[in-house]
């Protein structure tokens, strides 16, 4: 055997040996403990880092999950299979992982809601409009039509329709709830996918006032509440649904003159 070859072997083998040895020692002495579960959980999360769970990112959330400081269905984006897998990893039950969908509880678009005498000029953003005398519509409870929810949606699951009211593209929606936070008028609410009865209005004005503001507002007449056995309650001129007591069959939708309360067709 050539002497150079021996040196070559010795060099590389020696380097490998020294390196492995150093690493082994370092691994023993300088190790930072980390629960291996965290990495496994993190892998199951979508990795969108959307912050919908309220944490600084997916990794942060998985740390909290493992520490038991966050609910297993806390991630609004994860697909149900993965939620189940995480729950199994953590030895938990994945109860109530029903998909939530945002519902826009206002129908007062450009053609229904009355305008102010003065037109609003300025940035077309709901929250920016809201601080200038509350935008251009007379109703102080309804949709401003600036599309903040559409901009806020990280999944492009919302669009403004022709009438200036946002719509949700349900297949793209992950239920993260960022649109709810974006709306300065709080007209977007998260509801389980299968709920199908809503009052599409948030106006608390009295019947006369609200009628003058918008043709599709809830006037607070109480027709829907009458035979609902507490399914619908009137609070300050507005129908509020109590989903625990709700029985859709008992509500007389046809009595609502403005169509504020409706039963919608949900996809199962």
């Amino acid at each position: 055997m050539d002497i150079t070859m021996i040196i070559a072997l010795a060099t590389m083998g020696g380097l490998g040996f020294v390196f492995a040895g150093a690493l082994a020692i370092a691994d023993k002495k300088l190790r930072v403990e980390e629960n291996p579960l965290i990495a496994k959980v993190n892998e199951l999360l979508p990795g969108a880092n959307c912050g919908g769970c309220g944490n600084a990112g997916c990794y942060d959330f998985s740390v909290k999950l493992v520490e038991g400081k966050a609910p297993v269905n806390g991630c609004p984006v994860a697909d149900p299979d993965n939620v189940k897998a995480i729950a199994m990893l953590l030895g938990m039950d994945s109860e109530g992982a029903v998909k939530m969908i945002p519902r826009i509880l206002c129908r007062g678009g450009n053609s229904e809601a009355a305008k102010k005498l003065a037109d609003y000029y300025g940035p077309l953003s709901c929250s920016a409009m809201a601080i200038v005398s509350g935008g251009s519509k007379l109703c102080f409870y309804g949709c401003l039509g600036g599309g903040d929810c559409v901009t806020a949606c990280p999944f492009n699951a919302m669009v403004m329709n022709e009438n200036g009211i946002p719509e949700v593209i349900e297949p793209l929606c992950t239920g993260c709830g960022l649109c709810v936070k974006a709306c300065p008028r709080n007209i977007i609410e998260m509801h389980p996918e299968d709920r199908n009865v809503f009052v599409f209005c948030k106006n608390h004005d009295d019947a006369k006032t609200s009628k003058s503001l918008c043709s599709v507002s809830c006037l607070g007449c109480g027709a829907c509440a009458r035979k609902s056995d507490g399914g619908v309650e009137m609070q300050n001129f507005l129908g509020v649904i109590n989903y625990d007591k709700l029985d859709a069959d008992k509500i007389q939708f046809e009595k609502c003159t403005t169509g504020a309360i409706q039963k919608i067709d949900v996809k199962s």
């Binding site: 492995a20 897998a85 593209i169 349900e170």
Partner: protein
């Protein structure tokens, strides 16, 4: 947990779907440095593919023997070995090419694509799949380097594969064979490829929107005009 994909898919995905340069944004250094001509690009891509395939294969074969702590070190040594082989072979057999690719052959070692595939794929999959994955990714690199080298060669020196294709009246854009030209060309290519992807996504969204308008009311609604 992961669903097993077909072998064909394993191979094809590297070419475009997870193209190392365009989608994984890895291995920019050689991409930019050697693409002054299409030929150089192809040579570099082939060299990289060679290293990629063999290191993937070896790593996949011995993946179960390697302890986690020395994983990266082991991969690097394996990769470095193959790179040296390529380097020596090129110097011996293709001295001209070796001269023009300059110091960039050794730098294949730190091409993140190779380590990336080793870490993300070869260390978790069997040799056959690793081989196909490496081949696919290699072709992806080949595609990008050839296109990039081609564009730069045509505009920068009027030629493609060393043969003039533009008329003499075309004054070559020297900037294209300078570093600045490399950055600009790759930036623009990447931008256009992203724009195409965005466009595709948007179209998909639009069709989704038309298909699934949000839940419609069951009860009839009287549509009123403005108050």
């Amino acid at each position: 947990m992961k669903k097993q994909v077909s072998l064909t898919k394993e191979f094809v995905k590297g070419i475009w779907e997870i193209n190392p340069t365009f989608k994984q944004l890895l291995g920019f250094c050689p991409t930019l440095a050697v693409t002054v001509s299409a030929m150089n690009g192809i040579a570099m891509a082939l060299a990289t593919t060679f290293v990629l395939i063999f290191s993937s294969l070896i790593i996949s074969l011995i993946r179960k023997l390697i302890p986690g702590q020395v994983r990266i070190a082991t991969y690097i040594v394996i990769i470095a070995t193959f790179v040296t082989i390529v380097d020596l072979v090129m110097k011996a057999k293709f001295p001209e090419l070796s001269k023009s690719l300059g110091p960039f052959i050794p730098l294949i070692v730190v091409n993140c694509v190779i380590l990336g595939r080793a870490e993300a794929f070869a260390s978790k999959n069997n040799p056959l799949r690793s081989f196909l994955d490496a081949l696919g990714n290699g072709l992806g690199i080949l595609l990008v380097l050839t296109v990039l080298g081609g564009i730069r060669e045509i505009l920068g020196s009027r030629m493609i594969f060393g043969a003039p294709i533009l008329p003499d009246s075309f004054e070559p854009w020297i900037i294209m064979i300078l570093p600045a030209g490399a950055f600009l060309t790759l930036g623009l290519l990447l931008g256009f490829s992203n724009t195409l992807t965005e466009r595709k996504k948007r179209l998909e969204r639009e069709s989704l929107l038309n298909k699934y308008r949000p839940a419609k009311a069951v009860t009839e609604v009287k549509e009123g005009g403005a108050a």
